[in-house]
């Protein structure tokens, strides 16, 4: 019995049990991670999982059931059970559900991968982490840590509308950090970001990060931060590095444009959104420099795929164009509720979990400047880089971020290092204050986006470049 056969059996069983639509995904997941600390391997984990999840629509209710078995009997039982769960939803029924029309797709897709991450000898991967953390430790870090992660995912999707799609997606990435521990606080520096950079790509990404070459520098910086002056409190011009801006996009744009949040489907947990669908196409989100796309077609970016988990093909769309809000992240059911004609952003983190609206690659298009030009144009400000903490309210408006490091900017020059930098603001006001944006785009990957109940971990991409924001409150502390 093939994986497609199992998925088809589950779909057919759901239809036989009364579903008016059903889809099923078989997924074979392989995961490998290794971490090192102070020159020694700390943990190596290799997981493998295979199973099937089936989704059934009965009346106006969805049901989902997942099993770790692919026999014909198990698949059919899962399909029937999904229909039973859906029928139970009718006890507290909502409005009728429709799905945006979709052409049935029969296709196969695989991400680009030059060097298979699981094919690289463990000894080579371990040596890399050991060398890099030894170098940071040797330079004086109290705690030097390194990590890589690899995901190798194959999935087979079948729907009652005729979809039959298989995909093979390989993702990996890694990074290092150096922590210096003081009497009352700790200071951490990371390269290229805390827990690393990730992409839908092969081991060539990790090799390109030159982890060992950056180890001594981040150790020096973590030690220096312990005695650096604290980031002053007040309002100032804020320059953000591309890594921090990527998370700013993730939290204050990406989540805000998720249609399930806008419709209230996440109200009790992840929250809602300050965005009102009635203003889609007219709302001023940010300055005219702000062009944000939803683009799962970017080669190598972490949020890339061929088809989402409803079988919708990857398509690039605008989310914000010249500062105006024009697009959302949607699925076929949420799009139909909103009267929109597109889905394409629904994914699940495994066979056991329900597909839901998730970010793909949500990021900025390049601006006209460079980081050097931005610094040179700033008389009095603060440059912050590499995220350390993040927090935002349940409508995605009020945020506060902390960064690992900052520098004074005076009269167009980068000055002394500052510790414990934080900044806070309100999303649309912040984005409207962006007056300079670099062209130096980096497609940052975020492999730890939590959403949903039961919880799911999403992999998202965020092209970002350094940018300047005017009159931002910085230096918030306890």
């Amino acid at each position: 019995m093939t994986e497609f056969d199992a998925a088809a059996a589950a779909v057919q069983a759901a239809l036989d049990a009364g579903a008016r639509y059903a889809d099923a995904r078989v997924m074979h997941l392989r995961y490998e991670s290794m971490s090192a600390r102070n020159g020694a391997i700390e943990e190596l984990t290799q997981d493998e999982s295979l199973g099937l999840g089936v989704r059934a629509l009965v009346g106006s209710g969805w049901g989902f059931h997942a099993v770790p078995e692919l026999s014909d009997a198990a698949a059919r039982a899962a399909g029937r059970r999904a229909a039973e769960v859906a029928a139970a939803s009718a006890r507290v029924a909502g409005p009728p559900i429709t799905l945006t029309p979709a052409e049935p797709v029969v296709a196969s897709w695989a991400s680009d991968c030059a060097v298979d991450p699981l094919g690289v000898p463990l000894s080579d991967k371990g040596d890399l982490l050991v060398r890099a953390t030894e170098a940071a430790r040797g330079q004086g870090a109290d705690l030097a840590q390194g990590l890589y992660q690899v995901w190798d995912t194959r999935k087979w999707f079948v729907s009652s509308e005729g979809h039959r799609i298989d995909q093979h997606i390989r993702e990996c990435g890694g990074g290092i950090s150096a922590t210096s521990i003081g009497e009352h606080e700790t200071q951490r520096r990371s390269w290229p970001s805390y827990r690393g950079q990730y992409g839908t790509t092969g081991w060539e990404l990790v090799e390109s990060l030159d982890l060992t070459e950056h180890a001594a520098r981040i150790a020096d910086e973590s030690r220096a931060l312990l005695t650096a002056p604290e980031c002053p409190a007040g309002e100032t011009d804020l320059i953000l590095g591309d890594e921090q801006l990527a998370l700013q996009i993730h939290e204050s744009v990406g989540h805000a444009i998720e249609l399930d949040r806008i419709l209230g489907w996440e109200a009790a947990f992840a929250g809602t959104s300050w965005l009102d669908l009635a203003r889609l196409g007219s709302l001023r989100y940010g300055s005219e420099l702000m062009n944000v796309t939803i683009d799962p077609t970017i080669p190598g970016a972490l949020g890339s795929f061929g088809f989402d988990d409803e079988g919708s093909p990857a398509v690039k769309r605008d989310a914000v164009r010249e500062g105006r809000w024009v697009g959302v992240l949607a699925g076929r059911d949420s799009a139909a509720v909103a009267g929109l004609g597109y889905g394409g952003s629904v994914r699940a983190d495994g066979w056991a979990r329900l597909p839901m609206v998730r970010m793909t690659n949500v990021g900025l298009e390049p601006g006209p400047h460079t980081l050097d030009e931005i610094i040179a144009a700033t008389d009095d400000g603060v440059l912050m880089d590499v995220n350390r903490s993040w927090s935002i309210d349940d409508r995605r408006l009020n945020f506060q971020f902390g960064c690992e490091i900052a520098w004074e900017v005076r009269n167009g020059r980068r000055g002394r290092m500052l510790r414990n930098p934080t900044y806070t603001g309100i999303g649309p006001l912040f984005w409207r204050s962006m007056d300079m944006l670099s062209s130096e785009i980096v497609p940052w990957g975020t492999p730890n986006c939590g959403k949903g109940q039961p919880g799911q971990i999403g992999h998202t991409g965020h092209p970002a470049a350094p940018a300047r924001f005017r009159g931002v409150r910085v230096g918030v502390r306890a």
Binding site: E43, L44, E48, S71, A88, S89, L122, A268, Q400, G455
Partner: protein, 480 residues
């Protein structure tokens, strides 16, 4: 591809078989430990007052750790047929051979008795989707026309452990939880409860509480940021407990010098007693390393007594494991995930979800708006001026050692003057060092009974009474 049920094998059979396979492949000196857990999780989710997501999953996870020739590796999988188990053993041993030496290997758990936690409820383990939907129906009906959102969750775990040192253990456990909000224009009210049995979860009681809180939270005003005296309700207290557990009472972080905890030191107010109690509900009676779980007092009357350890962190600290081994523990450290702050009232055996005559999740007493129970009322009454806070949201660590946290209030804040909530307040952002907020002299009062709040992952919970604290540092308002 066959599953556990189709093979007819128990979890302990599978665990023992994997240990045998390791010895067959790597010889009798190879050290191996195996955990096999079947997990049935079902969750009925509602929003806009109807069920919009309704899921059930059945998973089997086999986790293997081997130590061969001084090298260690771990692996996991869902494949329990003979080929799947052989593949798991093969790739984990191969990984170990390629790993650098592991001089800090703490060895295997020796044979030791594991007592059943005795909290299996068959009705919860095998709850049908209709049983969850009925509770959602009750919650939605109880909010009286307000908008309702949340979930009802049931879970069942059946697991076993075996290692090559002769330790073997089995356990089964159930858990049920409900978490819901009622919504009016611009205001939400929340009610949450975690219990060992689904029949302890009453959607109607929770819905009435959430609706009363939501109505009382309507038309909020914005107050200036600054330091305020506060009464934190159990949902907010749960956030304190969670962050203290992850960053403070984490043995690995303690060994690394990244934790504030100093055992033997009076770091908290004398009113604070914290006990991790995995023996009561949700958790298996042994950890990932086969160490029996038992209640662990972390803070006793304000004095820090212990931090949580797995075998590796315990070896680093020169002490014994406290039974907190978990997947990823070598990286993230051992975390006490069943943490209870004792209430001011008489302790009940094994604690409890907060049920009783007044109804689950109520904390006792009638429902009457912003102050929704007698426990909270007793703390609010002596407050001259301060804030009543229902819940915290999106809290993140600015510095792990001092445990400075930023986050926001959610699901209701009220200004209290002369012991009376005089009006609803818009949400604040705060930036606060949690140990300092609970430090000596900082706790002005605590409720009699802790109320159990569910963790995002079943198997964990956070249980505390409402707390009155002398000061909380609000650093921003809704306007920024």
């Amino acid at each position: 591809m066959t599953g556990l049920r189709e093979t007819g094998a128990t979890e302990l059979d599978v665990a023992a078989r994997v240990v045998e396979l390791v010895h067959e492949v790597a010889g009798p000196t190879a050290e191996a430990e195996v955990t096999v857990v079947r997990h049935d999780l079902a969750l009925t989710r509602f929003a806009n007052s109807f069920i919009h997501q309704n899921v059930a999953e059945s998973q089997v996870t086999v986790r293997l750790r081997v130590h061969v020739d001084g090298r260690t590796a771990a692996g996991g999988g869902s494949l329990v047929d003979p080929d799947g188990l052989r593949a798991l053993v093969g790739r984990t041993l191969a990984a170990a051979r390629l790993c650098p030496p592991d001089p800090a290997w703490p060895g295997l758990t020796p044979p030791s008795a594991v007592r059943s936690n005795g909290l299996l409820d068959e009705a919860t383990a095998y709850a049908e989707p209709a049983a969850r939907a009925e509770r959602v129906r009750a919650f939605v009906d109880a909010v009286g026309g307000l908008e309702a959102a949340g979930y009802c969750r049931t879970s069942y775990r059946s697991g076993a452990f075996a290692n090559s040192a002769g330790q073997a253990a089995q356990g089964r456990t159930t858990e049920a939880a409900m978490d819901g909000i009622a919504r009016t224009a611009g205001a939400d009210g929340v009610a949450r409860l975690c219990a060992g049995r689904l029949d302890e979860v009453d959607g109607s009681v929770l819905g009435v509480r959430a609706a009363a809180k939501a109505r009382a939270a309507a038309d909020p005003v914005e107050l200036p940021p600054g330091r305020y005296e506060v009464v934190l309700e159990p949902a907010a207290v749960a956030d304190l407990l969670q962050n203290l557990a992850w960053y403070g009472f984490n043995g690995k972080r303690h060994v690394e010098g990244q934790s504030f905890a100093r055992p033997g030191t009076a770091q908290f107010d004398p009113a604070v007693t914290l006990v991790d109690d995995p023996t009561y509900g949700g958790a298996m009676p042994f950890d990932l390393e086969g160490t029996p779980r038992a209640a662990l007092t972390l803070v006793e009357a304000g004095t820090t007594r212990a931090v949580a350890h797995d075998r590796r962190s315990a070896a680093g600290a020169g002490t014994a494991s406290t039974g907190h081994g978990a997947p990823g523990g070598a990286t993230f450290g051992p975390i006490p995930r069943n943490l209870r702050m004792a209430g001011a009232g008489p302790a009940t055996a094994g604690g409890g979800p907060g049920g009783g005559a007044a109804g689950p999740g109520s904390g006792g007493g009638p429902v009457a708006g912003a102050v929704a129970d007698a426990d909270t009322a007793a703390l609010v009454a002596p407050m001259a001026r301060g804030l009543l806070v229902s819940d915290f949201w999106y809290t993140r660590v600015l510095d792990p050692k001092s445990l400075v946290i930023t986050g926001l209030t959610r699901n209701g804040v009220w200004l209290v003057e002369d012991g009376v909530p005089v009006r609803a307040v818009r949400n604040f952002r705060f930036t606060e060092a949690y140990p300092r907020a609970l430090g000596p002299g900082a706790v002005l009062g605590l409720g009699r009974r802790p109320v159990r709040q569910p963790d995002r992952l079943d198997g964990g919970w956070w249980e505390g009474p409402p707390l009155r604290l002398a000061s909380w540092n609000f650093t921003g308002g809704a306007s920024g």
